[in-house]
């Protein structure tokens, strides 16, 4: 039971990192990444491949995974940044599909749908399962703490201010002399890098990556986390991730307790509930549980 709780907290942490990345892209930058699952997969596969095939240590593999995901983000952003956000939505959605396709079919590299097993975890062999879980939880929490502090500072910094300006009105930001394109591309890249980081952390924790893990429902989960928590609020992203994991587990028990339906139907009920919940949240409480607090600059302060 305690291992289960720790594992769920680790997963909540991994989702929280993705939610922070998504919040940067969506909440501050006003862009969208509907292919989150793809970037998650890129991070996970990069880290899994370089550790199992090239024998790189984990502390090098994870930064590499972040870098690769960010690079993919840069490519996508460069192509679409001059256009309206709709194109970014379509391209990212397509990218996730392409990544999954590649992961399922390039068997020489990714072992296809069987996935890659035996991805190393930090001291997995020498520690007891509980100790390993706790250690990993500690690592994830430390990473979140650092990210949270950095991103909160970033949101309050001049950089964050420019981002919010771009989100509200690109034209005005451009007239004010801001290089809108560069801001958007950098933000998108950092956000995607964070999602890749979450993927790498997932790979080293679960020791197994396969295309099935990176279904589009992951994207929905993270969008839901950000929407519930409060778009634009970093604290909200963390709260949202916890809520989404709790909701996912609650619906698992709920669907499991309906013993008159088949397992595939139970899965369908779970996904439907998540999707429905997202639609309701978007409709009813757009600002989320913790709304974004934009700094107010009063005359006296200046």
């Amino acid at each position: 039971m305690e291992n289960y709780l720790i594992a769920m907290t680790v997963f909540a942490g991994i989702y929280a990192i993705m939610a922070l990345g998504m919040n940067l892209i969506w909440g501050l930058g006003g862009m969208v990444n509907l292919g989150l699952a793809g970037f998650y997969a890129v991070g996970a596969y990069t880290s899994a491949l370089v550790t199992t095939k090239l024998g790189l240590p984990i502390y090098l593999a994870v930064p590499l995974a972040v870098l690769v995901s960010a690079l993919v983000g840069v490519i996508v952003a460069v192509i679409t940044a001059r256009l309206q956000g709709d194109y970014l939505a379509i391209v990212t959605l397509g990218l996730a599909e392409l990544v999954r396709l590649t992961a399922s079919n390039e068997i020489w590299l990714t072992n296809g749908t069987d996935g890659i097993s035996g991805v190393p975890g930090p001291w997995r062999g020498v520690l007891s399962p509980t100790a390993f879980n706790s250690l990993y939880l500690g690592i994830v929490l430390c990473i979140i703490a650092v990210l949270f502090l950095v991103l909160s500072r970033l949101a309050a910094s001049p950089f964050g201010r420019v981002l919010r300006a771009i989100r509200e009105d690109e034209m005005i930001a451009a007239v004010a002399g801001k290089n809108v394109l560069s801001f958007k591309i950098r933000t998108f890249a950092v956000g995607c890098g964070l999602v890749g980081l979450a993927g790498a952390l997932f790979a080293h924790y679960s020791s197994y990556v396969a295309p099935d893990v990176f279904q589009s429902i992951v994207t929905i989960h993270v969008i839901l986390a950000v929407a519930v928590g409060g778009v634009g609020n970093m604290r909200g992203a963390l709260l949202g991730a916890v809520i989404v994991i709790a909701l996912g587990e609650a619906t698992r028990f709920l669907a499991g307790s309906l013993d008159f339906i088949a397992p595939s139907q139970a899965a369908a009920v779970r996904e439907s509930l998540i999707a429905l919940f997202l639609i309701v949240v978007l409709n009813v409480r757009k600002q989320g549980l913790l709304p974004e607090k934009t700094p107010v600059y009063s005359e006296e302060k200046r």
């Binding site: 956000g85 391209v91 397509g94 599909e97 392409l98 396709l101 969008i223 369908a268 999707a275 997202l278």
Partner: protein, 286 residues
């Protein structure tokens, strides 16, 4: 000779793809946001056709209008209930909402019909052969239906009052409003039409392959690609784009494994956005 076969296959695939691509692009033209629920509605249409055919015993042709109506009504109903409230806060929220809606619809189908692949109840017919060229008659039949539907749609948009209203809103919403065109009615009509076409597309594509709840999601990338290549919001563009994607997917078979067909659509999107962002026939760059 092989090349001719590829061209024939590509053209027929393109005709089928054009129907949902027109649906997607019509909704974009009038409502100015990408409605990703198209995939879910394609699946709804496919299953509607399947039930009408295998349980109701209706011939294929009769299932098409039923699929159109059911997908159109579910499309408008779910849009009014779940998505229309999101549109005032921008295209982003609405687009995200439609992703969730598509997932919801797919899972509803999965709940009722399960994950198994199903096929229409149609007697197998021997391929027509012209020398080395093989043409399955039912593909010709489907492509013909698709062409007729496009012709009907063209007449609707060009000559009927509703069609003109839709084009007016697509062209200039503010001016259309000044002229007294009811925006809500027009957007509902566009959604109904677009989703209905997605439903028909689901049936036609389902006839070609097999049907499962993910049929729309699997085809969706090609549908978006067709719309983007032709120019988002342009109906002739969607048709042209569909032919290009259909041909491209068949031609790609010469170079890569069949599983990578879908990658063609993605590649086409990237190419067109890099060199001609408004698409081949798009009038505006959004």
């Amino acid at each position: 000779m092989e090349l001719v076969q590829i061209l024939v296959n590509g053209l027929m695939a393109g005709t089928l793809l054009a129907i949902p691509a027109i649906g997607f692009t019509t909704i974009f033209a009038v409502l100015r946001f990408p409605n990703f629920a198209v995939g879910g509605l394609m699946a709804i249409g496919a299953y509607t056709g399947l039930v009408a055919n295998t349980m109701g015993g209706l011939p294929l042709l009769a299932t098409l209008p039923i699929a159109f109506m059911v997908a159109g009504l579910i499309g408008v109903g779910s849009d009014k209930l779940m998505i229309s409230g999101l549109r005032p806060s921008g295209p982003l929220a609405a687009a995200i909402g439609t992703i969730a809606l598509g997932l919801l619809l797919e899972n509803a189908l999965r709940f009722v019909f399960g994950n198994e692949f199903r096929t229409f109840n149609i007697p197998p017919v021997r391929d027509w052969r012209f020398g080395d060229l093989r043409v399955p008659p039912h593909q010709v039949e489907n492509a013909t239906y698709a062409l007729v539907i496009m012709a009907v749609l063209f007449c609707f948009l060009m000559f009927t009052r509703s069609g003109k209203m839709m084009r007016a809103v697509a062209d200039n919403p503010a001016l259309a409003g000044l002229k007294g065109i009811n925006a809500v009615r027009t957007t509902d009509m566009a959604t109904f039409l677009g989703m209905g076409l997605a439903g028909i597309g689901g049936v036609l594509i389902g006839l070609d392959v097999a049907i499962d709840p993910l049929i729309g999601t699997r085809t969706m990338l090609a549908v978006f690609a067709a719309a983007v290549v032709g120019g988002l919001g342009s109906i002739p563009g969607a048709v042209l784009g569909a032919f290009i994607i259909g041909l491209g997917e068949e031609l790609a078979l010469l170079a890569v494994a069949p599983t990578y067909r879908t990658a063609v659509g993605f590649l086409a999107i990237l190419l067109i956005l890099s060199f001609r962002p408004r698409g081949l026939l798009g009038e505006r760059r959004y």
